[in-house]
């Protein structure tokens, strides 16, 4: 970056501009394990800071990469072409919570769990719950359209974004959407920005839909011999016309990993687990939990555990939330792909993955949101063996092809980032890519915002 650009940023941000190597290193990574050094980091505290940064970027032509908590799995916040990382962590105010009209107005740096807790205090519910909810931010969740465990019943981040304020690639401040239950005026620019991975605009404020907090919930952990049984059970539950608020699957390796870190005793022969949750009115929850227990047993569950109180439920959930980081103990590098297949094809996908693992000689760990057909396929690699890395890359490509062939999608909730850029066209087709690029040019004509993401031709190579 030009010294002139840096000094202009310095005038704007004072000590909220950091250019030391140490700070740059601290903003060079996310949860992918990949690393790209930015030239500088800025900490805006309001929309005007963001706007001025983007205006400067247009003048001096440097990339601006928005970053929430840097917990993404597709590289969305990595500064692959250097430039300025714009960290939203100091824009972390909940502006208001409207308990009559059921919405919250927040800044992008608010941690998702903080919002959930504040809503809960008022008897309200902000459902999106990515596994990272304790640290990931609302802004990051919106940029990637994060999903989570309860998406099977409540949907994903997109379903809760009513309106946005965002700085476009031109430096203009766009207000879009509504603060009402409905709204169909013009194109849905709000949804356009949700999931755009910081390539169209930088969210500076969001109006988020809240719903009444369910009265009760129960969590079940059902243990099976193999993934196929779990997959069958998921479909049987849907057929029984129950909509659990979570249907999470863990395979044997995932279970082993977490078990190595936590004192949980599981019966001999446990090769797959389903974490199920039902919520709603007290009586209904008990009835549905009983029904789920029956269905699980009917499909070969070795054991079904149940918790209805908060600490007991949290214990079961902790198992699930710890998987992703715990996999680091299996191998230092994981290619974490969040494919989605039609729910009815889950069992076929598991069979394919098992065969793939043998054929390509790669270790694959699967877990995730079985109720959505959204499976996290983790291909574990040492990071030091070139042949293994090649086999893993080939395996990933096969997984993606199979997914699309089954009528699925290559990313349910992590986004394209740099990890899936090579496969974008495979799923959306050449015209799809072309239209997306035309839109990009319209929001960000100079390619300032998060360059190198989503589209292959500018993308960094997979590390």
């Amino acid at each position: 970056m030009h010294a002139e650009a840096l000094s202009a940023l310095g005038n704007l941000f004072g000590d909220r501009l950091r250019t030391s190597l140490e700070t740059r290193i601290c903003y060079s990574f996310d949860a992918t394990g990949k690393k790209f050094l930015p030239d500088a980091v800025v900490y805006p505290v309001n929309a005007e800071d963001v706007r001025q940064t983007v205006l400067l970027a247009n003048f001096h032509r440097f990339p601006v990469v928005p970053r929430g908590a840097g917990s993404g799995f597709s590289g969305g916040s990595l500064p692959v072409q250097g430039g300025v990382v714009l960290s939203t962590e100091r824009m972390d105010r909940i502006i208001s919570i409207d308990t009559e009209n059921l919405y919250a107005v927040v800044e992008p740096g608010v941690v998702t769990e903080t919002l959930k807790l504040e809503a809960r205090k008022r008897g309200l519910f902000y459902p999106p719950d990515p596994a990272s909810l304790k640290f990931s931010t609302v802004g990051g969740n919106i940029a990637e359209c994060a999903g989570g465990m309860c998406a099977v019943k409540y949907g994903v981040t997109r379903d809760y974004v009513l309106g946005l304020e965002a700085v476009l690639g031109t430096g203009e401040l766009l207000r879009t959407g509504v603060a009402t239950a409905k709204g169909v005026v013009g194109y849905d620019l709000t949804r356009m920005i949700v999931g755009s991975e910081g390539t169209l605009g930088i969210v500076t404020r969001a109006t988020l839909r809240l719903i009444p907090l369910p009265e009760a919930a129960a969590t079940l952990l059902a243990l099976f011999h193999e993934n196929r049984r779990s997959a069958e059970t998921v479909n049987a539950i849907v057929a029984a016309r129950v909509t659990p608020s979570a249907m999470e699957l863990m395979d044997r390796t995932a279970i082993d990993c977490v078990q190595a870190l936590m004192p949980v005793q599981l019966p001999e022969g446990t090769g797959s687990a389903l974490l199920l949750e039902v919520d709603g009115a007290e009586g209904q929850v008990a009835r549905e939990a009983n029904l789920l227990t029956e269905v699980c047993h009917a499909h070969g569950a070795i054991e079904v555990r149940r918790a209805s109180d908060a600490p007991g439920r949290e214990e079961l959930w902790k198992l699930r939330r710890s998987i992703s980081p715990a996999l680091r103990r299996v191998a230092p590098v994981k290619l974490n792909e969040d494919i989605v297949v039609p729910r009815s094809r889950l069992a076929d996908m598991f069979a394919f993955l098992s065969d793939l693992s043998d054929r390509r000689n790669v270790r694959i760990v699967t877990f995730g949101h079985a109720g959505d057909g959204n499976i996290h396929v983790n291909i574990m690699v040492s990071g030091t063996d070139a042949d293994e890395a090649r086999r893993a890359e080939e395996a990933v490509a096969e997984v993606f092809h199979k997914t699309v062939e089954m009528g699925g999608t290559i990313s349910g909730e992590h986004g394209v980032g740099i990890s899936k850029a090579p496969f974008l066209e495979m799923e959306v087709g050449p015209l799809g890519v072309a239209v997306m690029k035309r839109l990009k040019a319209c929001f960000d004509p100079n390619g300032i915002l998060n360059p190198g993401k989503i589209f292959l031709d500018e993308a960094a190579v997979r590390v």
Partner: protein, 422 residues
Amino acid sequence: MRDADLKALTGLCAKCGTCRTVCTLYPERKAEIAVARGKIALIDAAMSGEDNDADAVQEALTDCLLCGRCERACPNQVLVEEIVMKGRADLAEEVGIPAWKRVLFGKVMTSPAATGIARKAAAAGQRLLPGKIPTASGLHYRFPDGLGGEGRTVPKLPAKGFLESLGKGEAATGEVMLFVGCVFDHVFPEVGRASYETVKASGRSVAVFRDAACCGLPAMVSGDRRSATECAEANVRRLRAAEPGAIVFPCGSCLLMFKRNVFSLIPKGDPLYDDAVFVANHAVDYASFLLSSGVLDRLPEPSPVEKVGEIGYHDPCHLSGTLGKGPEAREVLSRAVGPAFAEMAGADLCCAYGGTFNMRDYSTSARIGENKVTAAVRGGTKVISTACSGCALQMRDMAARTDPSVRVVHIAELVHQALFRK
């Protein structure tokens, strides 16, 4: 940096970000460099040669309270405390230790005699300081601005330390060894005294460990591996030779040193390793010892001195967090003061003393500490009890700054009061 063990430790960090949720400093800094994930990235960069500015990396590593909250929250159980201390020690070999620390750790704290002389000198010096302010817990001095931070108060140092107050030959030998620690000997001798009397009340013979060096923690966290090792070796050798049945620690930080940290200074294979294991196996926190000794069974009824719910307990990070001894202290309090004890608001939050952190960045340390005391007072606590010398220093200073009517005591003082009240 050269430490090969470090790579294995840092390699487990998945950069997930969980550490951001619990870090004591993060809400103050709101920057990635404050949290474990950032520091680990920096250590990796220093090891790989990507970042050769040892001074700058050391500066970043020093900005940490070592409260260990990240380590306990980490889904991968990354040993952050050990990583940061090792990192500091490795870097210290490149950038050196500041001169004042070198003298303090290397010359003063390794020798009990020198520590005594230093206290006397400091006590004499204090009389020259202006601006005394009265507090409920005796006299505190307020530092003039620019001399160690805005409004810092320090306890008035006693003319006599606890060890000096013992008679000749008193508590010289015994089956139970009491490791008083520098602060409870020289700064708050009443805590040393209360610990001694209450441990003695168990009926077992008690020896006070007289030729103790500093536990070594201050040197260790400052990256001064040599002084820390000197302290640890001297203590381990002397403690082992005394063949105690138990070694009781009124201070959680001293205890952590002998339970855990000592093994990175005296590792497996070291000639003193077996002795260090002996010491670790016999080291016990004050509360656990009291519970096992049965002395509290003799208490007729809880002390009526304080009102219901007025006494709170501040969890020392090392003692309640790392060593998991929170329940024992609470049990002791419940037995000693009954319903006067109640859970304090934010009990398990770090007080932000952090040893030398408090000297390095007093204003941040004070901001976090004041918030802690303010929340406690708002929740109805009037007496803050604790069981760590660093926490005691910090909480007294913070109480003096925010609400001088708040008393800060060691749990041993409350037990003493209950056991020996007239």
